[in-house]
């Protein structure tokens, strides 16, 4: 999952092509704020990609079935929540490569630009277009410009929730950056 910066420069000997580049699960030394559950950790790892794919399905299917950018984004975000609940903030920091505020901004930018784009073509703001494509194997494919707006919503929701994990989640852990533990002990008496 990790791209080491020096990978491109240093040729990997062919005997080591199959060597995993990082541990699949965290080692015992890795820090936890709460007791580990091996079962939950493995389950979260296994489910994570599947849930993400499902969230993309929801995003794309939203036009005709239940789903949409909001639901899709929430499902994808819950995948991150699951990883965080299983592994704590060390796990979170390992899997989140892009800063959540960037994701939020990208989502909002995509949505706003999608809203403004029709103006360039002389249509009112937020006008939508539908394109139909005939693909050789898949058959007819319908693409609407609204999908981009939905994509913006999808990204924004993921960003908001991961940011929530970063702040309310990791930020309020014991020893986390957002809470004064001594103060808390005093409050508890």
């Amino acid at each position: 999952m990790s791209d080491r910066p020096d990978d491109a420069r240093k040729p990997v000997p062919w005997t080591e092509w199959d060597t995993p580049r990082e541990r699949w699960l965290m080692t015992e030394q890795d820090a936890y704020s709460w007791p580990r559950s091996m079962l939950l950790e493995v389950l979260a790892r296994v489910l994570f990609p599947t849930v993400l794919v499902f969230s993309v399905y929801l995003l794309l299917a939203g036009h005709n079935n239940a789903g949409g950018g909001f639901s899709g984004g929430l499902v994808a975000a819950l995948a991150f929540v699951l990883r965080y609940v299983a592994g704590g903030s060390a796990e979170l920091s390992m899997m989140v490569r892009v800063r959540p505020p960037v994701v939020i901004g990208t989502g909002l930018a995509i949505a706003v630009l999608t809203a403004l784009a029709p103006v360039l073509l002389g249509d009112p703001v937020l006008a939508s277009a539908v394109w139909k494509l005939h693909l050789p194997v898949l058959g007819e494919l319908k693409i609407t410009s609204n999908l981009l707006l939905d994509l913006g919503v999808y990204l924004l929701i993921i960003g908001v929730v991961v940011d929530l994990l970063r702040t309310i989640g990791a930020g309020t852990e014991v020893g986390g950056p957002g809470v004064d533990d001594e103060e808390l002990e005093e409050e508890r008496g």
Binding site: R4, N64, G69, S93, L108, L156, I157, P177, D181
Partner: protein
């Protein structure tokens, strides 16, 4: 004309780039915009005074009748001569005045000054009240930024804030007044309002509000203290904003509306009273100043008061005087400010107690400044003299009120002569008990820029025919031409005799009365500056008090207030009205029964929960139960969203409550308070349920909007899922609004939580465990390799 305004803003956008590279040369580039505008305005001057002023219109929001209209008439032309002429002079001057290496300041000030010139241009050209207001506030903002400078020194910030607060107060009042005026007249076009002035009680209120804007902007008593405070700005900025251009905006506004409302007592009485008071107070305060720039600032206040008096008098002659004085004042005051800039920059101080012998060193500059001072004091052969002659003529030929005002103006003029002499002697004189300042060059370009306005005041006085069409054209709006012409010599007239008397009195006061002892002292309780401080303190105390009472910081109290309001306000309507329940069914689907029971039990049990986690989980059950209702009713999208949001809410709740004690407090008061909360929540819930049932009893079938959504979803959005079509198409604007709120809330939440750690510093940022806290620092980088 609209192009000229736009050109200013375009130049303002470019000059910072030039300044970043070439430093203060950017000011010269910036000067091109006002210089070109001046040439253009002179080129079209003939049309402006012809009686059919050129007009340009740009549709802004045609649906509600908003448009930008630029109209170049005599008054606009007169102001453009000042704005663009002095603007170009000041910008060129600033290119030598600025520190050579300071590219940042050059970038900021050049861009702001050019923007300001554009805003002033728009202000005097605008022919509809809304764009007038926009440009008006734009000048305020530019002034705030220019006075504030880099904002490092506290004095800069306080002065800038005071200028902003006072002028914005007036600006907002003016906006209200202009809208009232526009509504009463049925048009937003100023020329149309003036052509057929409305009347009535609303118009009186509107005029007073507009006046508040004009009086604050032009630093009239009691709003004047912001102007001397604003003298912390760089001298070229003061020369332009606080002498020639911005403070003239209030005068311009009065000049613009006076032809139609000069007879209205709510208009002319405040103008004349405040103006006269300002003229006397400004002159009086100027007598005591040692700082040349502050002396000029009080002089400006005094002169602005004079201008207001002349505009408020509202006769042909007084309008002619006001027009001439606006021009004269702009010329001599900018020349004097620029002179002070040179003195401050080259001699190192502008305190008259430390200056000596500059007049002998800088003969050219002294001559130029003397011309300006003579113009200020109203001596021939300068434009200020011509203006003052007309003013005295106008006042002493009029009725009793005019004569009384005339005496006041004469006293004010004596003070003007005195502080002019104080300036001349203080800045350039050789003091017997002081060694002359060390000789330094005064700078050719800067002196040249002083020469332009100073000599213009001389040249225009010798050939006043050049400006007479403009002044007379404006004065013609007040009545017919009595056959007076601008000239240096009208023969031996009463006005000339009074002028001589004023000068003699001024010289005598300066010579014998002892300026130090005479004046400028105002008892502390009467000082307007302390009143300003007191009102700001009062405002802050009020805000603190209100906030402290409303924002008590208790979530249960907030929720309680919201829920009680929810029940009481619509509940009162329900009780008063005649409502029935319609036809009621117990349930539509038998599955609803167990789900409802589950939700009710969970809600009831949560009251009895002793542990926080239990309560949260029970609340979760309620949420999932509602999701189940949606499933039963066939709302798959709603159910999906409900389940997901509920899950996320639960997770967030758990995050938060892990920092709380596991059990609720066993405290007596807390336990009793719980039943009050339960009662409020129960009432609100029941109320909403009853309301929903009542409402559903009154609707028949599907509303029109829903029907249309379903009909059009497939054709117009290509979606068969109507919910999604509504979210991303029909109501997509709402969606964008909502996600913006989400983005803001997430950013705000992150700042609130993470800011605590920054304030505390160190201790919690990077715990030794290496786990938490890493997320916000290294999330964007490749994680550390584990081995």
């Amino acid at each position: 004309m609209l192009v000229a305004i736009l050109a200013h803003f375009a130049v303002a956008a470019v000059v910072p780039l030039i300044a970043r590279r070439y430093g203060r040369a950017a000011f010269v580039v910036g000067a091109l915009a006002p210089a070109a505008t001046l040439v253009y305005a002179l080129f079209r001057g003939g049309e402006a005074v012809s009686g059919a002023p050129p007009l340009e219109t740009l549709a802004w929001a045609p649906v509600i009748g908003l448009e930008f209209t630029a109209r170049l008439d005599e008054l606009s032309l007169l102001l453009i001569l000042l704005i663009s002429g002095i603007g170009a002079v000041v910008l060129v001057y600033y290119s030598r005045y600025a520190k050579p290496g300071d590219h940042r300041t050059a970038a900021r000030d050049s861009a702001l000054l050019v923007t300001f010139a554009g805003a002033m241009l728009g202000l005097v050209l605008a022919d509809d009240v809304i764009s007038l207001y926009l440009f008006w506030e734009l000048t305020t903002v530019c002034s705030f930024l220019l006075v504030g400078g880099d904002g490092v020194a506290k004095r800069l910030r306080t002065s800038a804030t005071q200028a902003l607060l006072v002028t914005t107060l007036g600006g907002l009042a003016m906006l209200l007044g202009l809208i009232l005026l526009g509504t009463a007249a049925g048009t937003m076009r100023i020329s149309e309002i003036l052509a057929a002035p409305p009347s009535g009680g609303i118009v009186t209120a509107a005029l007073m509000l507009v006046l508040l804007g004009a009086l604050t902007k032009s630093a009239q008593v009691p709003f004047h203290p912001w102007l001397p405070s604003a003298m912390v700005a760089p001298t070229p900025v003061s020369a332009y904003l606080h002498a020639a251009a911005m403070v003239k905006a209030g005068v311009y506004l009065v000049a613009r509306f006076s032809p139609a409302f000069a007879d209205h007592p709510a208009w002319w009485i405040p103008i004349v009273v405040c103006g006269l008071w300002t003229m006397l107070l400004g002159g009086f305060r100027a007598l005591r100043q040692y700082d040349l720039k502050t002396l000029l600032a009080y002089g400006t206040i005094s002169q602005l008061g004079f201008l207001m008096v002349m505009l408020g008098s509202g006769t042909w002659m007084s309008a002619l005087a006001a027009g001439t004085l606006i021009l004269a004042h702009g010329l001599f005051k900018s020349a004097l400010f620029l002179t002070v800039g040179i003195i401050d920059k080259r001699a190192g101080t502008r305190d008259i107690r430390e200056l000596s012998g500059l007049g002998r060193q800088w003969r050219v500059l002294t001559t130029l400044a003397t011309f300006a001072l003579l113009s200020m004091a109203g001596l021939p052969p300068l434009l200020g003299f011509i203006g003052k002659e007309v003013a005295l003529e106008a006042l002493f030929e009029g009725g009793t009120v005019d004569r009384v005002v005339g005496v006041g103006v004469a006293v004010g003029s004596v003070l003007t002569v005195v502080y002019s002499l104080r300036f001349l002697r203080g800045a350039f004189g050789t003091k017997p008990d002081m060694a002359p300042s060390a000789p330094v060059p005064c700078g050719r370009i800067m002196t040249g820029m002083v020469a332009v306005p100073s000599l213009a005041g001389l040249a225009l006085a010798i050939v006043p025919d050049v400006i007479e069409p403009i002044e007379a054209g404006y004065a013609d709006r007040y009545g017919s031409d009595p056959g007076y012409h601008l000239a240096l010599w009208h023969g031996i007239t009463p006005a000339l005799m009074i002028s001589v008397g004023i000068v003699v009195a001024g010289v005598l006061v300066h010579r014998y009365a002892g300026v130090q002892r005479l004046g400028g002292h105002i008892p502390a309780p009467l000082r307007a500056q302390s009143w300003y401080g007191r009102s700001i303190d009062g405002l802050e105390a009020l805000a603190r008090g209100v906030t402290g009472r409303i924002q008590v910081g208790s979530l249960p109290v907030y929720l309680g207030v919201i829920l009680t309001t929810l029940v009481v306000v619509p509940g009162a309507g329900l009780v008063a009205g005649d409502v029935g329940f319609g036809e009621l069914r117990l349930f539509d689907n038998w599955l609803q029964v167990p789900i409802t029971l589950l939700v009710l039990i969970a809600a009831g049990t949560s009251l009895l929960a002793r542990r926080r986690l239990t309560a949260v989980l029970l609340a979760g059950v309620v949420g999932y139960g509602i999701g189940a209702w949606f499933v039963v009713d066939g709302g798959a999208d709603l159910a999906l969203a409900q389940f997901l949001v509920e899950t996320l809410t639960l997770v967030v709740f758990v995050f938060v409550i892990r920092r709380f004690p596991p059990r609720f407090s066993e405290d007596k008061a807390y336990v009793h308070g719980r039943w009050v909360k339960a009662a409020i929540a129960g009432t609100a819930g029941t109320f909403v349920a009853v309301l929903a049932v009542l409402y559903s009893g009154y609707t028949e079938g599907m509303p029109e909007a829903s029907r249309q959504y379903i009909e059009r979803a497939e054709d117009e959005t290509g979606a068969t899922n109507v919910v999604n079509a509504i979210i991303v198409d029909f109501r997509a604007f709402d969606t964008i609004g909502e996600i913006t709120v989400l983005a803001v809330a997430a950013t705000g939440g992150a700042s609130l939580i993470l800011a605590r750690s920054r304030r505390r510093g160190g201790s919690g940022e990077r715990p030794a465990t290496g786990g938490s806290g890493a997320a916000d620092d290294t999330a964007g980088e490749a994680p550390e390799v584990r081995s």
